[in-house]
Symmetry: C2
Subunit: 217 residues, 2 copies
């Protein structure tokens, strides 16, 4: 662990900046310290799909591969903690614990990706939006202020377009469904980004997910 300390260095990026282009040579791996970034894939004609959402503590880069497979884009001001790849890989060979931790994180990501696949393949636009709001709300719930009786308040860290790329929708559909949820009282909006969920259970009902427990473990 001390060795890791020695070979790390920090890099900062502005919101909106593309940090890594798919196909780029990657000579480092990194971990998000602060801010939010996205992984996305783009087709020749411009259609793009987000395939990963990187929050603080998430890992970027694949040991044993030297070109990036996805675009990495900062959606907020971002600080990353980087390690040169070569030394990191050598460290992994020597200290199994690092690899074990990485395996755990990768398995979690795989589970998240599979949940996401269900969303992309089978959910309606309204369920998709509700699911995304629920994900963000749940993550922010711990940090957030007003957490009385199912009430959750947070700021959307994504633009409508980024949400659309996350959900496999157009930004117009995202906008319409958010308006619909607002009209139906599932959420309240101040400005375009500040969201209040008066009743978290109500929002969960809209996601289409199994309600009876069992989401984790």
């Amino acid at each position: 662990m001390d060795e890791l300390e020695e070979m790390k260095y920090y890099r900062s990026f502005e919101a909106g900046q593309t940090i890594i282009w798919s196909g780029d040579k990657m000579d480092f791996v990194a971990s998000v310290v602060e801010g939010i970034a996205t992984l996305s894939q783009t087709m020749e004609d411009g259609r793009t799909q987000m395939v990963g959402l990187l929050l603080p503590s998430d890992f970027v880069g694949r040991p044993g591969r030297d070109t990036a497979a996805y675009d990495v884009i900062a959606t907020t001001p971002l600080v990353m903690c980087c390690f040169r790849k070569k030394p990191f890989e050598e460290l992994m060979l020597r200290t199994p614990h690092v690899g074990q931790r990485l395996l755990e994180m990768t398995l979690d990501e795989l589970d998240a990706a599979r949940e996401w696949m269900l969303l992309l393949g089978r959910k309606t636009a309204r369920e998709k939006i509700s699911s995304l709001l629920a994900i963000i709300a749940r993550r922010d719930a711990s940090i957030s202020i007003g957490t009385e009786a199912g009430r959750v308040v947070f700021d959307l860290p994504l633009t409508r377009e980024a949400m659309a790329d996350y959900l496999g929708l157009t930004l117009e559909t995202v906008s319409r469904q958010i308006s619909a949820l607002k009209k139906d009282g599932v959420i309240q909006l101040e400005g375009k980004r500040h969201v209040t969920v008066p009743d978290m259970d109500r929002l969960m009902d809209e996601t289409g997910d199994d309600t009876d427990g069992g989401i984790f473990v």
Copy 2:
């Protein structure tokens, strides 16, 4: 590795059989020896999405979790090689090499899942079908018989319904798009399952993917 040999045992299943139900207690991990199985998720109202396709050599089960997160279904007669979970986990702690291999496999699965997310979120029905055919064709190409000049022949290991669950479509749409590809000469059919691709490049054009190299590494 010899230790692994000692604690393994084999199990066989019939086509169509559900091997594991989501939520089941899992006291083993396993690896596919022969046949094909699927991982899928089902919503309360019956909508289902396949989230994994298990081919020979693929791994099932998550070290460090004791309930299954997905249904596992045999789509062909299936043979699996199982290891009791507890001993396997202990082995993993002692021999880092096993964990490293597992990490590699998990990272590959994650990449596949992300490719799949692009398909689910952004591709048209025709592109989805073409992509699936291309995936199967490429995998069988090595084994298959007629591999002259871009010509590939194979059997579909999935029903129309399973294909629909893979692609996030209805089986009617799958059927229609297959008929369309046949009418346009992209594929030929004998019976419902036996497919001939006269020109693999032509099929690749239909997938919407980047043609110029770069799919692997």
